[in-house]
Symmetry: C2
Subunit: 493 residues, 2 copies
């Protein structure tokens, strides 16, 4: 069904994309949630209908497996439909009404009504490692359209034909459901990506990728005459802390789980567990090394990713205080899973170098001697997307887990118990983000329904007649949405 020869013209030049996006912004800001929900569902339906050939194309361009990519497409279309439901429910508008009150203690207050409205044209920088879910019709695009912000997607060069095929479906779906021109555009090219973030019509940008690339775009966004928010998800080593009790009770299970998580998708996840803290003297270290040695490697997404992966391992290989426990840092077409080891004192002393992300199937095993040392390592971390504790019930009650959980909540966006960080479910409570360098902006998530907030800003109306108010703020609550009225949550009857 996908005809790639027709896709070559789906990408547009930046000037056209931004002119159309800016022109569409007011209509989109005034559009009905039900209409935007219909557009999102139409996109999902078209992608699902063409799943087989899209997955085939994705396999060819990304070297990821068919089942993995099929699952990712399911996630992607689910995500589009979840945002459709979210905008219909209307809670995301955070509608808040304070009626005029002559007795307000600081002095008479006027009638004030506040809600969120779209920022305006949004740039979405696609990632290479999720060709569907963090790319052309991925979470950022879904959240932006749901919010009512026109989207200009900068395609990732690692899957150009898939990007065009998906963009063609998005445009066809939007056209078929009578969306205004300019809701969505695809642009290509590295230099175009730089120009995009500097375009004066742009109001917000989202990015998933490397620390270097993301920081460069963040710096450009902040340097503009009119700075704009830049939501970059940059990198993370996702440390996993295994308590002594857990290492004794479940060594093999933990070793197998860790090896599976760190080698999933050839280690090309931003949530790949890159550091594993294990108690000194337990068998867990050897079992992990054996499990990693027994795991499979694979072809990486594209050559530059593979070269960057091996380049990042070189400094490790040269260190005398770090030993190779499994695999190899020698450049090869298909990297084999690789494990290094060191002790907690060395790790803490050289944390700046040893906490570097290796984007691929490599990790560092760190042996600790005491719970105090475990906590010390946790406190020395920089910002992380995730941090995981493997523990037993006894740890939660009076072992190290309670203090560890407190410290890790201060370092990471998501804290896991007895699980693995790869696999980021799309839900209401999900948080995919964390202090820098995990992300450039700590207040938001890039996965889950709360990610819509990145494309919105609050506006208050003072003493404004119903006829001039958006429906979400009109006295009769015509959209029947939950609202905060005079400080109390009011649910529609």
């Amino acid at each position: 069904m996908t005809d790639t020869t027709e896709n070559t013209h789906v990408a547009t030049d930046l000037e056209t994309a931004m002119t159309d996006a800016a022109a569409a912004a007011p209509a989109l800001a005034a559009s009905l949630p039900a209409d935007r929900a219909a557009w999102l569902r139409a996109i999902a339906d078209r992608l699902d209908a063409d799943a087989d050939s899209l997955v085939e194309l994705a396999v060819r361009e990304s070297h990821l497996t068919g089942p993995r990519l099929s699952g990712e497409l399911v996630r992607t279309t689910f995500q589009l439909r979840l945002f459709a439901r979210l905008v219909e429910e209307g809670r995301y508008l955070e509608a808040t009404i304070d009626h005029a009150d002559p007795d307000w203690p600081m002095g008479a207050r006027p009638d004030l009504r506040r809600m969120l409205r779209p920022l305006g044209p949004a740039a979405v920088y696609a990632a290479s490692n999720f060709p569907f879910a963090f790319s052309v019709a991925g979470g950022d695009t879904a959240a932006a359209i749901a919010a009512g912000a026109p989207v200009v997607v900068k395609a990732h060069p690692a899957h150009p034909e898939l990007s065009r095929a998906v963009a063609r479906h998005v445009q066809a779906a939007l056209e078929a459901s009578d969306a205004p021109r300019g809701v969505f555009a695809l642009v290509e090219g590295h230099e175009t990506g730089r120009e995009l973030v500097l375009d004066p019509r742009l109001t917000v940008a989202t990015f998933t990728g490397s620390l270097t690339g993301g920081r460069a775009l963040f710096d450009l966004a902040a340097s503009r005459p009119v700075p704009i928010p830049f939501y970059g998800e940059l990198g993370s080593v996702n440390p996993v802390f295994v308590t002594r009790a857990a290492a004794e009770a479940r060594a093999q299970e933990i070793a197998d789980g860790f090896a599976a998580s760190m080698t999933l998708g050839v280690g090309q996840f931003c949530t790949k567990p890159g550091v594993l803290l294990v108690p000194d003297g337990s068998e867990l270290g050897e079992r992990v090394a054996a499990a990693v040695a027994g795991a499979s490697g694979g072809t990486m997404l594209y050559d530059a990713i593979r070269d960057g992966y091996f380049a990042s391992l070189a400094p490790l290989a040269e260190r005398s205080d770090v030993e190779l426990l499994a695999g190899s840092p020698e450049p090869a077409d298909t990297p084999t899973p690789t494990l290094y080891g060191t002790d907690a004192a060395t790790f803490a002393a050289h944390i700046d170098e040893l906490l570097e992300e290796h984007f691929g199937p490599a990790a560092l095993l760190v042996r600790y001697r005491s719970d105090a040392e475990l906590l010390e390592v946790a406190r020395a971390l920089d910002g992380q997307l995730t941090a995981t504790i493997h523990g037993e019930e006894s740890d939660a009650a009076d072992g190290p887990a309670a203090r560890l959980a407190e410290v890790l909540a201060d370092k990471a966006g998501r804290v896991l118990w007895n699980g693995w960080p790869t696999g980021v479910s799309v839900t209401y409570a999900q948080q995919h983000g964390g202090p820098y360098p995990a992300t450039t902006a700590p207040h938001f998530t890039s996965v889950g329904t709360a990610s819509i907030g990145r494309f919105l800003r609050p506006v208050a109306y003072q003493d404004t007649p119903d006829a001039l108010l958006p429906p979400a703020l009109q006295e009769a609550n015509p959209w029947r949405i939950p609202r905060l009225v005079d400080g109390e949550l009011v649910l529609p009857a």
Copy 2:
């Protein structure tokens, strides 16, 4: 009661302030909302008890009137108590629970629970024009302490003794209510302000002041190895649009209201209406000029503010396409209210220069010929804190007001109908913020309960046992707070 001789040592050096703040952060993150509420109320009580001498000191240092400053202190202590109530209610935590669901359409989901937690040490840059409400114990400090973030206030040099007196009350209140050391500190000095935003232990900064000063600090915040969010409220001209129908129906009322609002506090409000759009050929223009000519000036906050005000008027005085309608741009100790006039075509053609903020009692009257021209001016605006429409019922139904309200909601944080932008009530629905240059970050407000969000970030817990969860996320809801559970809002019974 205020003994200013004892206040000279209340300010501390930056290193002590940041060391204490960083040390206090974990305890503060784990503190009970009820405790933080008690601290805030203790601060409010001490300030209220010393109101007379604090206001006297404020009059001496700011040249604002006693009644104005008494009112501002009432607002300030109300604000502290409102935040106390907010944290007790717990809604601000945005607690969200998704139970594990094997049938979640994108694949089985784990148990995920998300809430907001404090960022860490916060810098608050005090403003000169609200010596109480946007200074040492003002809204930013109240919101940060409510959130659980330690605060380091950079005092404004325009009211040094008042800053110290208030800081002494804050510290005494915190000590008396057993708050951890490090919750609050006062630092002084311009260079200290630069060092503060660059301190690696700082996680967030808020600022109210000039575009130049705020942008310089924003640039420093973005340039850090670890960038931090910088919430600067910088400047605004707060345009007011008068429809033809309103000008005909209520010329004198509008003229008097405008003159009163633009000269309130000697025009030293970030919400001062600085541009008034009036229909050509109506009497309104002359009546506004007469009302401004009849209004009183006064001594400004400090010399540099006065000098900056007159310097900003100089380019206006030199223009041949702008005429002086009332007052004078000649430097004087106490500026007289000053009004310039031009037409909408000139205004639109030179909007970059004519939209400059004049911080003091000056404004620009702009005559428009048609509703189309009125809308054109609205579309040409940059980001504003507020935008106001004065209209009649007929305008709301089928006149220009509906389209104007749409355009202005895209430009400003607060849209007013038949009111004046000065006077920013502290409520749940208030929005004090807007697109750049009104603020450096469009997502948040610096007035009202929602301003607490600037000091918080989300954290999710995956499959975590109740014993390790914060109370707000435990299954039994021990704090009895509103939560979003499996996508549905659940209010405590």
